[in-house]
Symmetry: C2
């Protein structure tokens, strides 16, 4: 069996015609055996299957694509591993997409691009050449030209990420509910006794940042927790997080916990905490976002909100294949919720406070607590 024939130079791989001849039926019957087995009489099917196995036949993808106009390939841009501080989320997505695609009989074509315009150029090339059936977009942002371009060019695609700043976007998308995530983090920290919970966010106008901030705002309000002087925003990054956290912690009434828009910010916050001779998870708790590989490697380990990327990938592929298959019945706009992974960077609040009510504690600095101060140094 199989097609070894090494040494001859030419490895003639079997075609449908050769299988047909061997099985004593027509080409079309072989095709049916592969694509629509129910059409064949059981005995015929068995005979054909035997011939297929004996010759090791698989349909030539190019020929099939040419005829059916389907390539069984979906494309996805490969982004730099820690692009925009996403902490490996997109890499995880890629792996998950691969798995899901393959189990649906599709392959994943990856490509890189310098920027969005370059990405569109690649799309144009791939689509014109019929090299892919559909595309997965990631890393959406405000004024994103890509979905419109794809719509205008009648391409099949799904998007990981909301159409930030555009209410009535006409494409299918799936995203992680960042607000729900940060809200959960706030709730968890409140459960540990924290009342002054700060937030390190991104500059206004960045979709992801605004979303995650909204969860903190919503939940602090719901729980009646203070927010004044507890919010700081800047570009993403470790240095940035360190600076912001440094400011907040230096205030008269510093936060005892910080929810951060990213793991990078959170790492910076942990450094700021160390800068003051404190320790994350004791004097000040920290929660990051994305559960990047570093989070578990840090010491103390960084509690972080993990995006359910595998679930996202499943939904993306499922939706995309529906669209490719002939149009989705109803538009997909789905939000999946992240999960808080608790590590050592979060702990009980040790700051004694008079009552549960967050009001009227002016002048009572948190540093008056015996647990705080220079206890660790």
């Amino acid at each position: 069996m199989a097609i070894v024939e090494r040494g001859t130079g030419t490895t003639a791989r079997p075609t449908i015609g050769m299988v047909a001849e061997r099985a004593g039926v027509s080409r079309q019957t072989i095709s049916n055996a592969v694509n629509a087995p129910h059409r064949l009489r059981p005995e015929t099917l068995a005979a054909v299957r035997l011939a297929i196995d004996e010759l090791g036949y698989r349909p030539n993808q190019a020929a099939r694509s040419l005829r059916t106009q389907a390539t069984n390939v979906i494309g996805c841009r490969l982004l730099p591993s820690n692009y925009g501080g996403t902490g490996g989320v997109l890499d995880r997505l890629l792996h998950a997409l691969c798995d899901t695609a393959r189990s649906n009989g599709y392959n994943l074509l990856t490509f890189s691009a310098k920027d969005d315009d370059d990405e569109i150029e690649v799309y144009e090339d791939l689509l014109r050449r019929h090299a892919v059936d559909g595309l997965v977009l990631t890393n959406t942002h405000h004024v994103d030209a890509r979905p419109d371009w794809l719509n205008a060019h009648d391409a099949r695609f799904v998007v990981f990420g909301r159409p930030w700043g555009r209410r009535g976007a006409q494409h299918n998308w799936i995203d992680v509910d960042g607000a729900k995530g940060t809200a959960e983090a706030v709730g968890y920290l409140a459960g540990l006794g924290h009342t002054r919970i700060g937030f390190l966010g991104l500059p206004q106008g960045i979709g992801v940042g605004d979303d995650r901030l909204a969860g903190w705002e919503r939940q602090t309000e719901r729980l009646g927790l203070p927010t004044k002087g507890l919010l700081a925003r800047a570009e993403d990054g470790i240095a940035s997080g360190r600076a912001l956290a440094g400011q907040l912690l230096a205030a008269a009434r510093p936060p005892t916990a910080l929810v951060c828009v990213s793991d990078a910010m959170a790492l910076g916050a942990m450094r700021a905490i160390e800068d003051r001779g404190w320790r994350s998870g004791r004097e000040v708790s920290v929660v990051g976002f994305d559960d990047s590989p570093v989070a578990s490697v840090m010491r103390p380990g960084l509690s972080s909100l993990r995006q359910p990327i595998e679930a996202v990938a499943n939904q993306l592929v499922e939706t995309l294949l529906t669209v490719i298959g002939g149009g989705s019945p109803r538009p997909v706009r789905a939000l999946v919720v992240p999960r808080l992974i608790v590590r050592e960077s979060t702990g009980e609040c040790h700051v004694r406070r008079p009552g549960a009510a967050p009001a009227a504690q002016r002048g009572q600095s948190s540093t008056s607590n015996p647990e705080t101060g220079r206890s660790t140094k």
Copy 2:
């Protein structure tokens, strides 16, 4: 221009025939304009190019593949991001492969696999279906069935990684010279005054581990440095590195520097150093391998050996395309050298020693140094 036509439902993309008609020439002339422009008279070429642009024509990949038997796609297995503690090296490779492939007119098809056998199954599928022209293998190890299988099935491929344990392997490979890297690290540390330089390695029999160990052995011997009691080996991992380093550092005459087979090991070593109340880069220096993202994020930053992955990817693709194009004139077995990225985890040796000779300093524990001890806590 272009092919918008939205709303009609059918977006009839132009074929070579339509372009031919518009330009008033035959199909073959269009084909020549695309594939062998030198054959055309300048005026004809210009006219054809105009028609191509006006219609936005690109050759249908499936049709072209069917005719030419070439898909212009190369395949590569997607490995878990930090597979086997490779610290993101394979992700970097993937990105680089993408870039290089694209600039050569090829696309990259990625797939995942549970294990080597599963990977071979994917190969079989891809090859039988003519879905790829060639493959890039990564993560080679002892008793690796994949190259043999591919050879036996007449596939075109290149390998990133040496054929460990097999002298006369018949395939093209490119690898990073781990030994040269660790040798450089030892040399650098010796230049900083270190004489007792330890090595944290992997269990014997793992190709990468043995290779990197060899560099340490070679260089210490060349420089006349001691090795006794300075080598420890175990499975890769942070916990592992911490334990090994802990042992070495607890000895009567501990090392003042540690070269590690991986960044994970190095991170563990840094923890062991902290465990003793010391600080990496002061009492004990540490060098990792792979320059994973964590290395630059750690505090202190981890000095590490960076693999020149982009150069590797270039060579891999170049070699593979030669093989695909019709056989390489001479076999490629190339080693490229890593580069030491210096960060804060390496510093001058502060241990006073009687002379340059590493002998006879028994009883003189490194903690007798003013810089050491409980200075940091």
